[in-house]
């Protein structure tokens, strides 16, 4: 199910401030087609803000985000998010949640078929008629992924998708994500503060500095995602290198008083 879409995202000189508070400055990045760009950095560095800007949910104070490439005709929502808090509609069943981005855009029978297909790829077949409140956090995020994949996105924008989950579930879902992302082959921007996730999934790992967020370093990992194992020596080394970079910023960010 390799996607036909092939889109490159370019972040050009993006700057963003909430009133007087500068959160992002001078951000220039390129997310390559069919690759995963991971944004890491200490809390409050503007990672999620940047992801919101990339997908058009936030208007930047300065700069712009451009996209180039081809979007497959069966793509219903080119820039599609997966959220940290899942954002499932509690009054819809799993299948109805997955259908949200399809309804009114495809014939009913096609919606049903697409939902069934995506539920199968995400291992949710048995949960089609369940309500979100009946699901564990991990299952809820699988629904979030299924809903995103159902629209055949050209770019997948994932905002700390595993951060609300316990460590064991996180490990399990990380491996599933790795398989799915590689298989659908969309351009992906993945925000996390978890460095294990970063080295497991990223082709490019962009380290942002403490607020105001600037690009400190970009680490490239060329090995295909499916060839990687969470405990590979090179990944562990990369993780240690990232931690050495972020550590002081993270400690400082943690001691900061929240601006009102």
């Amino acid at each position: 199910m390799k996607a036909a879409s092939s889109v490159r995202l370019e972040v050009c000189g993006v700057r963003h401030a909430y009133r007087d508070l500068l959160v992002l400055e001078g951000i220039d990045l390129v997310a390559e087609p069919a690759q995963v760009l991971v944004l890491v950095g200490p809390s409050g560095c503007g990672k999620s803000t940047l992801l919101g800007i990339i997908g058009g949910l936030l208007a930047p104070s300065g700069g712009e985000v451009r996209w180039h490439g081809e979007v497959s005709p069966d793509c219903l929502n080119p820039l599609t998010y997966v959220f940290q808090d899942f954002a499932l509609l509690p009054w819809r069943t799993v299948a109805q949640n997955v259908a949200l981005g399809l309804e009114g855009r495809m014939p009913r029978a096609a919606v049903r078929a697409r939902v069934a297909e995506v539920l199968a790829t995400t291992g949710l077949d048995a949960f089609a008629r369940a309500w979100p409140r009946q699901l564990s956090g991990g299952m809820k995020q699988r629904v979030g992924i299924a809903r995103a994949l159902a629209v055949r996105p050209a770019c997948l924008l994932m905002d700390e998708p595993l951060s609300a989950l316990d460590a064991q579930t996180r490990g399990l879902l990380l491996e599933e994500f790795a398989g799915l992302i590689e298989r659908v082959g969309t351009t992906t921007v993945y925000v996390t503060h978890n460095l294990t996730e970063a080295v497991r999934l990223g082709h490019q790992i962009v380290v942002l500095s403490r607020r105001p967020g600037r690009v400190r370093t970009i680490l490239r990992l060329d090995r295909p995602i499916t060839d990687r194992r969470a405990d590979d020596a090179d990944l562990l080394a990369a993780e240690a290198r990232l931690w050495a970079l972020i550590r002081d910023d993270a400690a400082a960010a943690e001691r900061e008083i929240e601006h009102a």
């Binding site: 820039l79 998010y81 509690p90 009054w91 819809r92 949200l100 981005g101 979100p132």
Partner: protein, 263 residues
């Protein structure tokens, strides 16, 4: 120093009321039985308060003679039309206040200014505006239902989590689709609980409006019985109103169960 020894007792019980339909019904039946018992024992003179049995007999004869339906049908009609009009308008303005800055402050200002007015005081005005017939009664009822509906609907729309609306926007849904698939279902619980209140308000205002210049209707019937100190008929009318309220509350409960299965 105090010593501890033995099993640690459970100490976090309480404050978890459970629902029981039989307990509710049994309570009502028990009150009626006590009332009847006291009346039969001669503790309550019938000129002071008629016994339940006498009220039931009155209701029965009213039903057989067709008088019950003659009085109840205009009331039900007024209630249905007035409540529906007030509710439709109230839900519409509630949504406008919840969704649009243009409507929000002006709408809330008008609602806050007019909500506290006792609608009964407006009945003479409505008679001048809408005539002594059905118009003034329906207007009183609809007007009274309108304001609480606006407030509960607007609160329901405000309570729809913003992250869900943002999610829907991120999937490129149109405003109409977001309204239908996110805002409306999210506001439903508050709208339905608003119905419970507005139905009761509707019944109260119905009777009040019918007490002013109506030939038929439970309000007129109760007023007439009261003027004649005909306590049997008075209580029969009151019991009928209570039954209206119970049936409507039950109906709304069924609606809630059907629409809010996901909770």
């Amino acid at each position: 120093m105090p010593e501890v020894d033995g099993r640690i007792p459970f100490r976090a019980g309480g404050f978890a009321p459970r629902e029981s339909v039989p307990a509710g019904a049994a309570t009502l039946i028990l009150i009626v039985l006590l009332w009847q018992g006291a009346a039969s024992a001669g503790m309550i003179p019938s000129l002071f308060l008629p016994a339940p049995f006498a009220v039931a007999r009155t209701l029965w004869s009213l039903a057989i003679s067709g008088e019950l339906w003659r009085q109840a049908s205009p009331s039900l009609y007024r209630l249905a039309v007035g409540w529906t009009l007030g509710t439709v308008a109230g839900v519409a303005l509630g949504f406008a206040i919840g969704l649009s800055s243009l409507a929000r402050s002006p709408g809330m200002a008008v609602v806050s200014a007019l909500f506290p007015i006792p609608k009964i005081a407006l009945v003479p005005l409505f008679i001048i505006w809408f005539g002594i017939g059905e118009g003034s009664k329906i207007a009183t009822l609809g007007f009274g239902v309108f304001f609480p509906t606006v407030i509960s609907t607007a609160a329901g729309v405000d309570a729809v989590p913003r992250n869900l609306i943002r999610m829907a926007q991120s999937f490129g849904l149109s405003r109409a689709a977001i309204l239908r698939r996110v805002v409306l279902p999210g506001a439903w619980p508050a709208i339905l609980s608003g119905f419970r209140i507005s139905v009761s308000i509707g019944i109260v205002l119905l009777v009040a409006a019918e007490m002013i210049g109506a030939q038929r209707g439970i309000g007129a019937f109760v007023l007439q019985a009261g003027n004649l100190y005909d306590l049997d008929n008075l209580l029969a009318g009151i019991v009928l109103l209570s039954v209206f309220g119970l049936v409507l509350a039950w109906g709304i409960g069924r609606l809630e169960r059907a629409f809010l299965r996901w909770r």
